[in-house]
């Protein structure tokens, strides 16, 4: 039986705080939105908590499309957290 798996990605200074660009985690029981997942991520380390301390300054993508705390998450999803973008 395969373990449900989410892929979480971090970019820019958020990656520096968490110490990793990408990690896998199981979908916690009862979690079905990004917002519900958040406490499980911030609990991983002080760096994770610091990266996601001010969600007003954090952009969220689920499966490579912009989302927000209300966006549903399901097994196999890729969720990314990053600062406002600065390309161009």
């Amino acid at each position: 039986m395969s373990e449900p798996t989410l892929t979480i990605r971090y970019f820019a200074w958020m990656r520096e705080h968490t110490g990793t660009a990408v990690e896998d985690m199981a979908l916690p029981a009862g979690v079905d939105t990004v917002g519900a997942l958040l406490p499980h991520i911030t609990a991983k380390s002080r760096g994770h908590a610091l990266a996601l301390k001010n969600m007003a300054a954090v952009r969220v993508a689920v499966n490579r499309s912009y989302g927000d705390l209300q966006t549903p998450v399901a097994e196999g999803d890729e969720i990314a957290f990053f600062p406002p973008v600065t390309g161009g």
Binding site: F11, A12, R64, F82, V85, G87, G88
Partner: protein, 154 residues
């Protein structure tokens, strides 16, 4: 046309020629470059290098979405977007947005639209080296304002 995300520099003249066909009377090209001089909000030290990272998969998808939105708004014969990544030096080219159309107003407007949306939506992040220190560039409120002036998606 698929967006190109690459380390290598690009040749503006060649890209412009590639967009020319019998229906095209106007090619508008924008090039973003690495500015060496510090601005008012950047402190006193000049930029010595800039590093660009991106989100492979999402960056391309977002720029293609923006291009499709431009094509829905204006009658375009072609669009080329090339964005570099990696470590760049002062005066280096960063991004090319080129729009080709029969007439100039559509070409100008589409190129500006694509750049305004790329600045707020395309997942890239810049880190600047100044005075031997590296810091992440902050997003600007003026970029959000520029995007808003185009109104809602069609």
């Amino acid at each position: 046309m698929p967006v190109r995300i690459q380390h290598e520099d690009f040749d503006i003249a060649a890209e412009s020629r590639a967009l020319q066909d019998r229906s095209v009377g106007a090619v508008a090209l924008f090039v973003g470059t690495v500015r060496e001089a510090a601005g008012a909000q950047d402190g006193d030290a000049d930029v010595t290098a800039m590093t660009l990272e991106h989100y492979p998969g999402m960056t391309e998808a977002e720029i293609e979405r923006i291009e499709n939105e431009a094509r829905a708004r204006w009658p375009l014969a072609g669009v080329t977007v090339i964005h570099r990544i990696g470590r760049l030096l002062p005066n280096d080219q960063i991004v090319l947005v080129a729009a080709a159309a029969a007439h100039r107003q559509d070409a100008f407007d589409a190129a500006q639209f694509i750049m305004d949306f790329l600045k707020t939506d395309a997942p890239f992040w810049k880190a600047e080296e100044r005075d031997g220190k590296t810091s992440w560039v902050d997003a600007r409120d003026s970029d959000d304002a520029a995007r808003r002036k185009w109104g809602q998606p069609t």
